[in-house]
């Protein structure tokens, strides 16, 4: 029982990371109708930026953190201009192939620059964690959960209560109409890419002290996050969060009770089960094509 509680905590912590990246997926999907396959690479790049600033250059953690996020915002701009924007009038297939190309480019550029050895990044806090009854609460996991929770609330407020959020929503629902109303669609899409690059980067920075900082961390996280979005219901914000948390918990229990080497396989099994039995996910994908 104590072990189960401990696993539950760890699972929610790791699931929160998946949820953050999944949120980035969903936001871009809703704005552009394509899945950005380089979303996981955003996390990886941000983690490496942290290693450069905080470890290699020895700058303060908070400064490195801000610089890394600024770097991600810049990457979001470059990504939009270089990968998505030129293809915006094409069908979805060329766009996803281009984002896959971008994902390969990002991962292997970092590999070429930094080499294959995984890097270590310290956590934000000096204290490793606190003991609460039978459960040991790791401080980094606590931070991840707290930040995710705060971001979910921020996200809700931003999209539902601010004018900019409403404009973004209008753009994602009907680009033509939005532009007729004087909304600059290309600016809105640019903002979406920046926002989701920063979200992905944040997830990468948060999870880096728990995992190692490695080239593969991007694709691993992206696969889990994508599975999370399908489990939750594609294109649904709440679904992405719930799906991410659920997947984190399933995976942690699977690794503890079934098999450690195949830990990364559980997400795939859950994914296929959902695709076969409930492809619309828990909350349902809103799909409709007009004849």
């Amino acid at each position: 029982m104590d072990l189960a509680l401990q696993l539950l905590f760890t699972g929610i912590g790791i699931g929160a990371v998946y949820a953050l990246v999944a949120l980035g997926f969903v936001l871009i999907f809703r704005a552009t109708n394509v899945v950005n396959f380089a979303q996981g690479e955003f996390s990886m790049v941000a983690a490496y930026l942290m290693v450069v600033f905080a470890v290699d250059l020895g700058w303060p953690y908070w400064l490195s953190f801000l610089l890394a996020l600024a770097g991600m915002a810049l990457l979001g701009v470059i990504f939009n201009l270089g990968v998505y924007y030129p293809l915006r009038h094409r069908t979805f297939l060329p766009v996803i192939i281009a984002t896959i190309g971008a994902s390969i480019l990002l991962a292997n550029s970092v590999l070429a620059i930094y080499g294959p050895q995984p890097q270590v990044l310290q956590g934000w806090f000096e204290t490793p964690g606190i003991q609460l009854g039978p459960v040991y609460l790791d401080s980094q996991y606590l931070l991840i959960i707290a930040v995710t929770f705060a971001l979910v609330i921020f996200n809700y407020w931003f999209f539902e209560k601010t004018l900019l959020g409403k404009k973004l929503q209008a753009t994602s629902q009907d680009k033509e109409m939005a532009s007729l109303l004087g909304i600059s669609v290309s600016t809105m899409i640019m903002i979406t890419f920046i926002y989701s690059a920063v979200l992905g980067g944040l997830a990468g920075i948060l999870v880096a002290p728990v995992l190692f900082v490695s080239i593969q961390m991007g694709s691993t996280i992206a696969l889990k996050a994508f599975a999370a979005t399908i489990i939750g219901g594609f294109g649904d914000v709440a679904g992405a969060i719930i799906g991410g948390l659920a997947l984190g918990v399933i995976e942690t229990f699977g690794a503890a009770y079934i098999s450690v080497p195949y830990k990364d396989g559980f997400a795939f099994l859950v994914l296929v089960a959902f695709l076969i039995f409930r492809p619309q996910g828990i909350f349902g994908e809103r799909v409709a094509e007009k004849a």
């Binding site: 192939i97 281009a98 070429a112 492809p279």
Partner: protein, 593 residues
């Protein structure tokens, strides 16, 4: 749906009539010469290895040209399927001393089954699912290769892989692989002109229209995907025999990306492009070996190439060359003259061809169509009219199966089609055109109409051979007055002509009932007159037409019977002139005072 695995890729019948074989003789002579060359020329070990790699990789890339180029579906796990074949041959011959041929066959079967299962679970959903699921599958296969040490030897890989007795020397084995490449190449080269190949192209160009002209979209996608997987498995089996050693890193996600880049670079739509792309991406890294000293640099360049190719050369090197050649050829080729089109609509049921009772379609709380009854008499032109938002197009979409009816019943010639998917309704005898034209844009007019002619249950095409299909399609195109331009690409036709091609596509299928969705929309007055003439000629052959249009002149002159909808309900129904004078109809159109 009957089980799609019944007769998987064998349904592709490459027509083997004598003249065709004669025409293709140069290909086989060339292939035989290549095999002979591979068997007799003296290569050193290095060159031999490069050739072996190029030959086997090209077969795997052919698979991608089928699934991605022909059918427009993505597969990011080709290296995993390649690995299935390679490990089947590797483990089978090395650990269990089973016959090479048996192992090769088993590897292909494993890839086929894996591909079919993966496809069937995912291909009903959007393309982004397929991309992610294939990546996940690729990762799982790699995980198993590394961790299931009892079976796969883990990261150490499988050594001492056997070859068939017949091809023990490297040279003879290479010749064997080149022969296989030539055979597979022939098959993939001709696939686009077969019934299945045309269906794949139709699915790629426009899924919705493909379903409506009678193609089982899902099954076509599964075939394409399974075919791709099986070619991957075959290539992997050949690869394993050639190199006598395999290890997990040869079948990783990175390798899938290499296959994808090869396919995109050469041109995804054709096996020639695949061969060019494969050759280039095997040779270039050999020339630029120094780049290999930095890990990741190669793949980074590949990633960048993918982005650049997609943006600046989406059809690849061969696509670029072929398009220029195609333009030149279309000008030279004059299509054959065609006989007059015969329309013999089936007559199974009684006097009423289409009987709709209590049809409703709700979108949430909105009652777009609410309890509508329509009875279309055989052999006439029946019009469905109504102001904007009255539910006309929704009704048509429910009739053709694009929307599911909330309630009600649809009988077509006595058959209940209410719950059938679009392609089965088409098979049952329904033909339709779209308000916003939906043709397969990368094909010629003739090919578009041929796909229509292929409707399952079309009695006008005999056995359904290629010659009969072409003849039928030419007749239909001639009927609408475009026979002389049959070999031109859709993009070269005016809007009005595209509409006529869409009608020809529906007519070639010899439907029992033809649904026309606003055929006059966007036409100028001359074109409208031509359309009216065409409708008369169609009706004269006894084909029943249900037309939806705003154009009152067209409707009142062409239709004998009119049903009027407003706010989703039927407000009038009867003989044309009487209906148009009906006070409710007048007030619906002009407003009441």
């Amino acid at each position: 749906m009957s089980s799609p695995s019944e007769n998987m890729p064998v349904t592709v019948s490459v027509p083997r009539s004598k003249p065709l074989l004669l025409r293709h003789l140069p290909y086989f002579i060339g292939a035989a010469a290549l095999v002979a060359l591979a068997a007799t020329m003296q290569f050193d070990g290095y060159i031999l290895n490069i050739l072996m790699q190029a030959t086997t990789f090209a077969i795997a890339v052919f698979g991608l040209s089928v699934v991605l180029g022909l059918c427009g579906q993505i597969n990011l796990a080709q290296a995993a399927f390649f690995g299935f074949g390679a490990y089947a041959v590797g483990i089978g011959t090395s650990d269990y001393h089973i016959s090479y041929w048996f192992c090769l066959l088993a590897g292909c079967l494993m890839a086929l089954v894996a591909g079919a299962v993966l496809g069937m679970s995912t291909l009903r959903l959007g393309g982004h699912y397929l991309a992610m699921v294939t990546i996940s599958f690729q990762q799982i296969v790699t995980l198993v290769m590394i961790n299931a040490i009892w079976l796969t030897h883990g990261p150490d890989g499988v050594p001492r892989i056997g070859r068939p007795d017949l091809f023990q020397s490297s040279q003879s084995y290479l010749a064997f692989c080149v022969g296989m490449l030539a055979l597979v190449g022939y098959f993939v080269w001709h696939l686009p002109d077969t019934r299945l190949g045309r269906a794949m192209r139709a699915v790629r160009d426009n899924e919705l229209a493909a379903g409506v002209v009678g193609i089982d979209v899902f099954r076509t996608k599964v075939y394409a995907f399974a075919l791709c997987a099986v070619l991957g498995g075959l290539a992997g089996g050949l690869f394993a025999g050639g190199f006598a050693y395999v290890s997990p890193d040869q079948f990783s996600f990175a390798e899938s990306i290499v296959f994808l880049t090869m396919s995109l670079l050469g041109g995804v739509a054709s096996p020639i492009g695949s061969a060019i792309g494969t050759g280039l991406l095997i040779l270039i890294p050999e020339w630029l070996r120094f780049l290999k000293s930095v890990p990741g640099l190669y793949l980074a360049i590949y990633g960048l190439s993918v982005i650049l190719i997609i943006r600046f050369m989406p059809d690849g090197i061969w696509g670029f060359v072929a398009a220029a050649f195609e333009r030149w050829r279309a000008q030279l080729k004059t299509p054959p003259a065609a006989a007059a089109l015969q329309l013999k609509p089936a007559t199974v049921g009684g006097d009423i061809v289409l009987e709709v009772t209590g049809l409703s379609k709700y979108f949430g709380g909105l009652k777009a169509v609410d309890g509508v009854d329509i009875a279309v008499k055989r052999g006439g032109v029946h019009a469905l009219i109504g102001p904007n938002g009255s539910g006309k197009t929704t009704t048509l979409n429910v009739l053709s199966g694009l929307y599911k009816a909330t309630a009600g019943k649809i009988l077509l010639d006595g058959t209940d089609i209410t719950t059938m998917p679009p392609h089965q309704r088409t098979a049952a005898g329904l033909g339709r055109t779209f308000q916003n034209i939906r043709l397969f844009r990368s094909m010629t007019a003739l090919e578009n109409v041929e796909i229509g002619a292929e409707r399952p249950g079309n009695k006008m095409i005999g056995e359904g051979g290629d010659a009969a299909l072409t003849e039928r399609a030419m007749e239909a195109l001639t009927f609408v007055g475009l026979g002389g331009r049959a070999n031109e690409l859709i993009s070269g036709f005016s809007y009005g002509h595209q509409r006529l091609i869409e009608i020809a596509r529906a007519l070639a299928a010899n439907p029992t009932l033809l649904l026309l969705d606003e055929p006059a929309a966007g036409l100028n007055s001359t074109e409208k007159l031509e359309l009216h003439e065409l409708l008369k000629r169609i009706a004269a052959q006894g084909l029943t037409i249900l037309i939806i249009d705003h154009d009152m002149t067209l409707v009142s002159e062409a239709a004998q019977h009119i049903t009027v909808l407003n706010f989703g309900r039927r407000i009038a129904d009867g003989e044309s002139m009487a209906v148009l004078r009906h006070p409710d109809v007048v007030s619906a159109y002009l407003g009441s005072e």
